[in-house]
């Protein structure tokens, strides 16, 4: 039936004497192939039918078309490597295999080193390792929430926008605009008076387009700015009376000024003076040369608030999902590397110190080389795991960008089960995945043989 089941009988004739364990540490209790067969049978039957036979079948199936009746040679493979969608998946899988294991291993190393002999390292390791116990589905849901676009629901953007706004405060009046019949016209994203104003005048700049409740806290009743000789004054206010009753363009009693608005006096295309409105919405340019000016409300007053990063958009989707993967697997790398660190013989470190090496040199020249085998195991394990990554991409990437985020394992499922219905192509993708893990398979077998001596 399969190689697994034929192996014992094929080997039976030329079998070594049962007492010679061929260098293995195991030994003979009671040589009996029938007894062995009894113990092995359930495992070998399952492995044969569900694992080994399918490997053979999938390889053969990959040379047939979707119906399974027509032999197409390497047709499925050439389709795979010319199809736009699969090429995206291949590119993404390559990014995953290079980036994810590197970041996770590096982070694991940093965590292992940082927590070494810290009193509460057990608690720290427990917290970081915990995501390993949770399904990719749940992790995916968790990160869909984290990556929500609106800073009001996604915590990633909430943090980023609040940091951003700390250093570059956002405008107070996004969306505010002049009354349609007011003496103000858009100038880029700013608004400027249509008719020229002269020093000694007081201008009225009525705005609408926002709720009175959203005005800054200090906003007071808007008042008419007093006209002063030599000064150009004016009022910027929210020309809207709740419940109606206000007259457009007039300062009605219930209407409030718009404080902290940046107003510019423009002459001949140049901004000659800048003023800021007070709580009642008034401003004044003093000491202006006689002449005519345009009064402009600067664009910065109306800029839309910073919305954060589009984590789940086509451009960032793969890095975002890798971020979630790092969150899940960092604990794994940390625990393995910490065990490796603990196993480093102290004498080697002491010898280097006696020779006058600094701690950093000891780490670089002694610890790291001794840790290299552990780092390799961690990296290879992660690389194999990442090749098969499916759930996380499937869950985090919203439907509209799933084709941008796709990886080979997801393609395999979509081609064969998720609507594609092409077992030929699906088998070809599986075989490519399989070929990619063969080096790891050989490495495992070699390592095992070496350990057996």
């Amino acid at each position: 039936m399969t190689a697994a089941d034929e192996a014992p009988s094929a080997m039976a004739d030329g079998a070594a004497p049962p007492d010679a364990p061929r260098g293995s540490r195991t030994g003979t209790m009671n040589p009996s192939r029938w007894l062995a067969a009894g113990f092995l049978a359930p495992a070998l039957v399952l492995l044969g039918f569900i694992v080994v036979y399918p490997i053979v079948f999938t390889v053969i199936r990959s040379f047939f078309d979707a119906t399974g009746n027509r032999f197409v040679g390497v047709g499925n493979y050439t389709n795979m490597f010319t199809d736009q969608q699969t090429l995206v998946s291949i590119r993404n899988t390559a990014i995953w295999v290079v980036v994810a294991p590197t970041v996770v291993t590096a982070l694991g190393l940093v965590f292992a080193v940082l927590t070494e002999r810290i009193k509460w390292s057990a608690a720290f390791k427990l917290i970081v390792f915990m995501p390993m116990a949770v399904s990719f589905l749940a992790s995916g849901v968790i990160f869909r929430l984290v990556y929500q676009q609106s800073p009001d629901s996604g915590v990633a953007n909430a943090i980023i926008t609040s940091v951003h706004d700390t250093f570059a405060p956002s405008s107070s009046y996004p969306g505010a605009h002049p009354r349609p019949n007011a003496d103000l016209a858009p100038q880029g994203k700013a608004y400027a008076t249509k008719t020229a104003a002269r020093p000694g005048q007081a201008v009225l700049l009525p705005l609408v387009g926002m709720k009175a409740a959203d005005l800054p806290k200090g906003a007071a009743k808007a008042v008419q700015a007093a006209a002063r000789p030599g000064a150009l004054t004016g009022t910027v206010w929210l020309d809207f009376t709740l419940g109606g009753g206000g007259a457009p363009g007039k300062l009605d009693p219930a209407e409030k000024g718009m404080p902290a608005m940046t107003v510019e006096a423009v002459s001949g295309g140049r901004t000659v003076q800048t003023a800021t409105t007070g709580d009642d919405g008034t401003f004044a340019f003093t000491g202006l040369k006689p002449g005519s000016y345009t009064v402009r409300l600067a664009a910065s007053n109306f800029a839309a608030p910073y919305g954060g990063v589009t984590w789940l958009g086509p451009a960032l989707i793969t890095p975002s999902i890798i971020g979630a993967y790092v969150w899940v697997w960092a604990g794994f790398a940390m625990v393995l590397i910490a065990a490796g660190l603990a196993a480093i013989p102290r004498e080697a470190l002491e010898a280097a110190r006696v020779d006058g090496a600094t701690e950093w040199q000891v780490f670089r020249r002694v610890t790291m080389p001794l840790l290299a085998p552990v780092l390799t195991v961690v990296f290879v394990t992660l690389a194999i795991n990442v090749l098969k990554i499916f759930d996380l991409v499937f869950i985090i990437a919203p439907g509209s960008v799933q084709s941008n985020a796709s990886v080979l394992a997801l393609d395999m499922w979509r081609d064969s089960f998720g609507g594609g219905n092409d077992y030929g192509l699906g088998s070809a993708v599986s075989v490519v995945l399989f070929i990619l893990v063969v080096p790891a398979m050989i490495m495992n077998i070699r390592r095992f043989r070496r350990e057996q001596g």
Partner: protein, 297 residues
Amino acid sequence: MTTITETGRVAGAPRRGLAGRIVGRAGGGVLRVVLVLVALFWLMPTLGLFAASLRSQTDNSASGWWTLFTKPAQLTVSAYEGLLSGGWFVPSFWNTILITVPATLAVVIIGALAAYAFAWIEFPGRDWLFVLVVGLLVVPIQMGLIPVAKLYGALHIMGTIPGVVIFHVAFGLPFAVFMLRNFFVGIPRDLLEAARMDGGGEWTIFRRVILPLGMPAIASLGIFQFLWVWNDLLVALVFSDTDTQPMTKALQGQMRQFGTNIDIIAPGAFLSLIVPLIVFLAFQRYYVQGVMAGSVK
């Protein structure tokens, strides 16, 4: 809590850790602050899911889950009530159990039997056969999906719970056999000889000596496999039906309307992760050992 660090203790090592020695005394405080921040950063996403699951859909679409801490009045279990009375989630929870428990037990039992044969019964071709098992460790399950789907179709077990279980068992076996065999090999020969002197057959030795002494490894494997199967989505997507689907598949079906469905998805995801989390916290030593042994898979 102590187990993860147990390996981190080396007799006579300097009191300060590696990082502490590199950054010196002054950096120690900074280091501690950084670690606390990292720990908070790692906890926050899960905490967010839990908080979101305790708010109404209206609150969740209006503001972030963190406002729950400033406005505790938002706290409500209505999302859980809605989910549990919905009629689809509870059956999927049972399906998860009906899949996970047998798949775990079967892998442990079948794996232990084979591992014993590989470790302690000499038979022709033993080493070659075991190398094959080692080779199978890394085979992607994608290689099995299509042929087994066809096989199940012919056997009329496609879409049934036994079908899902059998697939999980078969693909869990290489690791189970590998891990248990390596552990069983280390059991002192004298103990097995003694049992034989008393007239015990292989079956008696397996039950009376191997199983009790192999318990640490069996527990590690059991926990590892339990979490693996509980958390699976891909196998369920292919081999289960709407009335046999586990929680992962049922919840995946809700993801399409993520924005308007948070009141279903958040409590559902939380309920699906709370069991693995409890199992992990209760048996973390065994799980960490299983994961470390699995660093070849």
